[in-house]
Subunit: 190 residues, 2 copies
């Protein structure tokens, strides 16, 4: 699959604002990969595709989650999480993306997971701090991201958990497991 065609196909899945965000994530993911000795090509590809299904209709995603045996627990949690797994399925079935590292980075870019790969971390963090993002705490996360991916990602997950608590919404358990695991990794690395 030619990267230029993939860019065009991805752009067609979403409104202009989401596409602009995608370009910001691509730019940031490449920078992070270079800075933290990651694979910049995979980071670019996963970042380009991370929101492939973000603008898809809920009903369409619901059918895909059920019929394609994606994790069924998604159905009982926030619909904001659906597009990540649906997107990984979509780029595989529509564009023949088979690199499991890239697919996982797409699958877990919103929730995180235990034992996140470097690529998972880069794409997830880039999604939080791309230049277009503006939310309480983002500048602190950007600052941390200059030095330590794990610290930045913990702060990023904290901001999500804060937001969910402030809104009286449930917290996706996998995000807590991801955050707990990053804290252990951070301790072990020091």
């Amino acid at each position: 699959m030619n990267l230029e065609n993939l860019r065009e196909a991805t752009r067609q899945q979403m409104p202009e604002k989401r596409w602009k965000h995608t370009l910001g994530v691509v730019e940031t993911a490449i920078k992070l990969a270079k800075h933290f000795d990651g694979d910049a090509n995979k980071a670019e590809l996963a970042a380009l595709l991370h929101d492939y299904s973000k603008a898809w209709a809920i009903d369409r995603m619901d059918v895909i989650i059920r019929e394609q045996q994606l994790p069924q627990e998604l159905l009982v949690y926030d619909k904001e999480l659906w597009h990540a797994h649906v997107g990984a399925w979509a780029v595989q079935s529509e564009h023949g993306i088979t690199d499991e590292e890239v697919l996982d980075a797409i699958r877990y870019h919103t929730s995180g997971r235990e034992n996140m790969t470097k690529l998972d971390k880069i794409v997830c963090l880039a999604d939080y701090i791309e230049p277009g993002r503006d939310f309480p705490g983002v500048s602190k996360i950007r600052e941390l991201a200059k030095h330590n991916v794990e610290e930045a990602l913990i702060a990023a997950f904290d901001s999500t958990i804060e937001l969910l608590m402030a809104r009286g919404k449930r917290i996706f358990p996998l995000t807590v497991l991801a955050r707990n695991d990053l804290i252990v990794q951070l301790k072990q690395s020091k």
Copy 2:
């Protein structure tokens, strides 16, 4: 087992400050049980015993968790959680308490759990709001507790999660599951 003997035995497990806290939890748990149509006798018993092992040495609790096959995941999480399961084991083996509802309320008074019983909720909430407690947000939780146990308990768990995040510590997954479940219960009751 005579309640007066049990009081004396419990008092001997802990320093004066912890005993004062225990009396506060007893008083509050009885009030909550009466207010929310719970079992005041069971609430009194579980509250009296909830911190039975709180002041025990870490090494002693460590041995009990391993040898008595208490949940082994406790060992990898915050030691603050240990006394709850160890305490339930201790009052059963030392004082013949066999009421599973009371034992569960002791076991889960710190972490919470999914499908909390009314007694679980009362003891857990009483532990947060007894008159001696003073932490950011406690007055809001006390106010909520006048009207709705679930809302108060969600706010209480939020305060714990906030604190753990502020300290860069891991969040016990069961607490998140407990909070998520209370949010569902609350929606269903409205």
